[in-house]
Subunit: 158 residues, 2 copies
């Protein structure tokens, strides 16, 4: 399928997380340092409580990628297509995560819940819109319910 | 800020919409034709009711982009940073829209609510997860409330 589309980082993530298994992501507070010349494009984001952060998976191992994975590499869960997961193992290195915006100071956003390692390139910032981004009647597979129960148990919430 | 990140289309949108003002997007039904060799990566998406579609704004006018816009080019709304809007006028040509999945047949998804023109390149498909993508306590600016009231009036819902 034809020509590639080139994206340029607009900024970088700064936090204390150097490896994926070090973090309870919901609690991680990160700074997103946007290029100073783009600061005017952030004007007004502080009026939103939540933002979508689009970032690049920049530390994936090289080599061929599987088209199907066991979610979170848990062998007890079924093998499913990567598009049925949020795994970094997908054709394009794009991540989308909704975060809570704690504040903005000029070109720097402070957010909670961003599951990105220190130094990750950020591609876009978008406002979270209740009309369009929030759906109440949502169906998910049984394996995902099982995975969330595992998370709750592992984090002592179950 | 350093090197560009190259993305490859994984498929294309097919619908009847050739220009942005032709559509009431919530009602538009589109087919997303994923490259046949990637069909195994879709296995299991049909168990989700909603998907995030990440696609490229491929028909933006060339030339310099403003960093601030009037939302939907409505002069009565304030000038805000493009990162406080979902405008195509943003540094990287990335769109993220949550759609309702109507069905999958092999490498083809049928979805409702995708605001993309016929022929648009698709970059990624992700499941919509109530944990992570759905937030109930959300704050938005006053101008956005006004914009939604305008939409409701214009569509005879107000």
């Amino acid at each position: 399928m034809n020509e590639p589309i080139a994206m340029q980082p607009i900024g970088f993530v700064r936090n204390d997380v150097a490896a994926p298994d070090e973090a309870r992501w919901e609690e991680v507070v990160s700074r997103i340092e946007i290029a100073p010349e783009l600061a005017p494009a952030l004007e007004g984001v502080e009026e939103f409580s939540h933002l979508l952060i689009i970032f690049a998976f920049d530390r994936r191992p090289a080599g061929p990628r599987p088209l199907q994975v066991h979610p979170e590499r848990r062998a007890e869960l079924p093998l499913v297509g990567v598009f049925a997961t949020r795994s970094p193992n997908r054709p394009n290195p794009i991540a989308v995560t909704t975060v809570e915006l704690l504040g903005r100071a000029g070109n720097v956003l402070t957010v909670r819940g961003l599951d990105a390692l220190d130094g990750t390139p950020v591609l876009d910032v978008k406002p979270y819109l209740p009309r369009g981004d929030r759906f109440s009647e949502v169906r998910v597979p049984a394996w995902l319910q099982r995975l969330w129960e595992m998370h709750d148990r592992e984090q002592g919430r179950g």
